[in-house]
């Protein structure tokens, strides 16, 4: 470094008056290439022109949170050396069928540009994008270095597309297909991996329903010695699981198939011993239809588990309790509410290191069910797990007092998503609104980044949020509030707000327009079934030309009503691929 420092001194002397960075570009780029966080990189790029350029040349991964906020051409122009892209498309409420079909977010236009500008692209991670089989095939043949494909909540493709990937991507290390709207035409795609192919490290096809060619899978797993993540689908039986694990004891993440096949004692023991050989396992999921009697086979593999996903296994409280006794290191736990409060008590007792808990409803659409979890379970967990900072909790009853206790026990919440499943339900003991509950959350949890509210809520909840939730980035609201004032409080407070999604609330044009200046600092706003009118939206669009204001009309609704509004900032201008049901204002 000796010669470098003298060179630096020389250039510093000569440029003293210029006061700009005198790092040679290559050095600066080298330093900046170590920066991984895209937010840090954004900050860096704002320092000065030199840094902007150094940053853009050294960036290899680009994260685009809203595919319509920018165009692929703009991205390619700014970042010439990208190898990895993460793209998100549809608004989150599309997960719940609130977004019309053919809404957009098609990946193809992006792929065409990438094929031209980033021929060495290695990774593509998509969330809520539309991707066709043709696009998958195009991807497979256009990028010879392609390594990792991750599709989450995407739709528009079938297993034929996966076959194309398997056939052509010679360097594939990751194929991660999660929770997509996939047209499952059968499991033959797995056989498309050539015999010579050995590089796969991550394989997740838990989403698929049809039988796969087990023989092909077994051979594939056998020859991919670096495989560390394997998530099977339900069609894989226990016996087949055991065979796979024999050739892959090094797995760090395992998603089992169906956990309910009838086993002989001998087969059970084989399974148990094979599982106990999996010393690296830190994540376990799958366990479809898990039968209590087979769970003990897992115990030896659980000692290092940090993430246990039981959200497809309808366990009872006792079964869960016994299992958790073997998982002392657990940090993340996803369960179904079949475990009930008693199961959650066991969580509190056995998992002191727990940081994340998600409780999903087994029967969300059935009110007659009196099972499920209540506020008691949540409170029990909070007493036993002080490190809890992420919770997603579906329940049928809650009280303000319980939530106050919970956040007192766990003040470090960053993500608090509470879903009281009956819309507009008050505190079931006092019959009051749940305002004080969420007030307690925002007052106590100063690190709160994400909040989902539910239950009977007046504008007071939103006053609290606006006043106290200084780090809040994402807010989801449904069936809440009394007047425009509620939404105005949020838009007026919450300096870090990026995503606001609202449905079925009495917020109208005044509320919408109060956020005029705010929306450019946010990623997006969603409002559906509120009181916003077309005129309000047109006014917004007129005043803020750098926002895209899109309205989705429903058949048969009043012409003046803006049924669903999606507003987002964009440097790409209004989009041109919107279907007829989406009006761009």
């Amino acid at each position: 470094m000796g010669s470098y420092s003298s060179e630096l001194k020389r250039s510093k002397d000569s440029d003293e008056s210029a006061r700009r960075s005198s790092f040679p570009d290559e050095v600066l780029e080298r330093v900046l290439s170590l920066l991984k966080s895209h937010r840090d990189r954004s900050s860096v790029s704002l320092v000065c022109k030199d840094w902007y350029n150094a940053e853009r040349w050294s960036r290899t991964h680009v994260f685009i949170g809203n595919c319509y906020s920018v165009s692929p051409e703009i991205v390619a122009r700014r970042f010439p050396r990208i190898r990895s892209v993460t793209l998100k498309g549809k608004p989150r409420f599309s997960d719940f069928n609130l977004v019309p079909e053919n809404w957009g977010a098609d990946i193809h236009a992006w792929l065409v540009v990438f094929a031209a500008k980033y021929p060495f692209l290695e990774e593509l991670r998509l969330k809520r994008m539309a991707i066709s089989d043709e696009s998958l095939e195009f991807l497979a043949i256009s990028f010879p270095n392609f390594k990792a494909l991750s599709l989450l909540s995407c739709d528009g493709f079938s297993t034929n597309g996966l076959a194309a990937i398997a056939t052509h991507c010679k360097n594939l290390t990751e194929l991660d297909i999660q929770e997509n709207g996939i047209d499952d035409k059968g499991g033959s795609w797995l056989s498309c991996f050539p015999e010579s192919f050995t590089s796969l490290e991550v394989l997740n096809f838990a989403n698929l329903t049809s039988d796969i060619n087990f023989d092909a899978l077994e051979k594939l797993v056998g020859r991919c010695k670096s495989m560390r993540v394997l998530k099977l689908n339900r069609s894989v039986s226990l016996e087949q699981l055991q065979r796979l694990l024999v050739s892959a004891p090094q797995l760090a993440e395992l998603g089992t198939g169906s956990f309910s096949q009838e086993l002989t004692i001998h087969e059970y023991e084989d399974l148990e011993s094979t599982l106990s050989n999996c010393k690296n396992m830190h994540t376990l999921s799958g366990l479809w239809d898990a039968k209590g009697i087979y769970l003990p086979a897992l115990y030896p593999a659980c000692s290092h588990l940090t993430f246990l996903n039981l959200s497809y296994a309808a366990l009872q409280s006792v079964e869960l309790a016994k299992l958790l006794a073997h998982c002392p290191r657990l940090k993340r736990l996803w369960v179904l509410d079949t475990v009930e409060d008693k199961g959650l008590e066991a969580v509190g007792l056995n998992c002191p290191l727990l940081e994340e808990l998600r409780v999903f409803p087994a029967d969300p659409f059935d009110d007659e069910i009196v099972h499920g979890v209540t506020e008691a379970g949540f409170v029990a967990v909070s007493f036993g797990c002080p490190r809890l900072h992420y919770v997603l909790y579906f329940c049928r009853q809650m009280t303000n007092a319980a939530v106050a206790t919970i956040v007192q026990n766990c003040p470090d919440f960053t993500h608090f998503r509470l879903c009281i499943m009956n819309p507009g339900q008050p505190d079931y003991l006092t019959n009051e609104p749940m305002d004080e509950a969420f007030g307690a959350v925002v007052k106590t949890c100063t690190k709160l980044q994400r909040l989902s509210v539910s239950g009977l809520l007046t504008d007071l909840t939103f006053e609290y949020i606006g006043r106290y939730a200084k780090n809040l980035e994402t807010l989801s609201v449904a069936f809440a509030g009394r007047s425009d004032w509620g939404m105005q409080c949020v838009l007026g407070g919450c300096p870090k707000l990026r995503k606001l999604e609202i449905r079925d609330c009495p917020f109208g044009n005044a509320a919408l327009l109060s956020g005029l200046e705010k929306y450019e600092s946010m990623r997006s706003l969603w409002m559906s079934a509120c009181n916003v009118t077309m005129n309000g939206c047109r006014l917004l669009a007129r005043e803020m030309p750098r926002l895209n204001v899109e309205v989705m009309k429903e058949d048969g609704s009043d012409d003046s009503q803006a049924d669903k509004v999606y507003v987002y900032r964009s440097i790409a201008g209004p989009r041109r691929d919107a279907p007829p049901s989406v009006l761009t204002l």
Binding site: K90, F93, S94, D95, F96, N97, L98, V99, P100, E101, S158, E179, N180, G181, D183, D184, N207, T209, S258, S260, D289, K291, S311, Y312, A314, L336, T338, F360, A362, D363, P364, F365, D366, D367, I369, H371, F394, M421, N422, P423, G424, Q425, P426, N431, S476, A478, F479, R482, S483, D504, C505, P506, G508, S528, A529, C530, N531, E554, D555, G556
Partner: protein, 294 residues
């Protein structure tokens, strides 16, 4: 555990006035999906009129051996999500997205009508919007991803009330029912719990019984799947040779596909692939049964 139609349909005209008085939306708002129901109604009507009804009639725009009604485009027919915003390819079985009206705002500040489906007096219970719950159901609520919704719907976790599974082998693990096909030398058994919906069941049965059908159309000795393409089998079925029926808890033989999948798996005791010549007269009974329950 079976939710009777009676409960559901007494709710159909109304908003359920529960403890929660907070409501949104105007009752009586019609849902666009009505036209879809009308399609179903039409197809059932043609059935009643005695027209020989193969599976092709059970859907709009045939092509596949799918049961009862459909909005095409791969959605699961009766239970398509409200928006038709079916982001999930074929398997979206969200009977949950149907609604019977919605909450109304207490203060009279009535905002947009809630996006629900108002169910008026519809003809057949076959329009399976009557989701198991007896309460008004709201589109996209609770906010559960479609994938999870469908998975849990098709494989409801068993709590205590599991006794209804007549042929259940293991208890809570699976639900095996016998499947017989007219003319086939032996029966098969299928586990209803492993299927996500009618579409999957139908493809599985197609595969299972295709060998028999080949024999019937005279392709002797040709039983390999390679030769019989799926479309050919469908053509055979399209030719309305067979109809899939099931025996329910009451011992009645019903046409498969009329009721929501979960309800079907709960009350199906056995399946029979019946020659359509024998199936005439089946539907009117099915209709009647639905009427009495409606």
């Amino acid at each position: 555990m079976e939710k009777s139609y009676d409960d559901t349909n007494t709710e159909k005209s109304g908003l359920r006035l529960k403890d929660t008085e907070l409501r949104l939306g105007l009752p009586g708002s019609e849902s666009p999906e009505r036209e879809e129901h009308d399609q179903n109604v039409l197809s059932l009507k043609s059935f009643v009129s005695g027209a020989k009804r193969g599976f092709s009639d059970a859907l709009d725009g045939g092509g596949k051996w799918v049961f009862s009604g459909g909005s095409g485009g791969g959605s699961e027919g009766l239970f398509s999500p409200r928006r038709g915003g079916n982001n999930n390819g074929g398997n979206d079985l969200s009977g949950s997205d149907s609604g019977l009206g919605g909450p109304v705002l207490k203060d009279g500040v009535a905002p947009k009508p809630l996006v629900v489906q108002e169910k008026k007096s519809q003809v057949a219970a076959g329009n399976g919007n009557t989701a198991p719950a007896s309460k008004a159901q709201v589109v996209g609520w609770p906010p559960i991803r479609s994938f999870r919704k469908n998975t849990m719907a098709s494989h409801p976790p068993k709590n205590d009330n599991d006794d209804d599974n007549a042929e259940a082998k293991f208890g809570s693990g699976c639900l095996y029912v016998k499947v017989s096909m007219d003319g086939a030398p032996y029966l098969r058994k299928v586990d209803l719990k492993i299927y996500g919906g009618y579409k999957e069941l139908s493809s599985a049965l197609e595969k299972m019984f295709s060998c028999f059908t080949i024999g019937q159309c005279g392709s002797h000795g040709v039983s390999s799947r390679d030769v019989l393409s799926e479309s050919r089998l469908i053509d055979l079925l399209h030719g309305s040779e067979y109809v899939l029926t099931y025996e329910d808890k009451d011992g009645d033989w019903m046409l498969v596909g009329d009721v929501p999948w979960e309800m079907f798996t709960n009350c199906c005791k056995r399946l029979r692939i019946m020659k359509s010549t024998e199936a005439i007269g089946l539907a009117p009974r099915a209709m009647e049964k639905c009427k009495t329950r409606t």
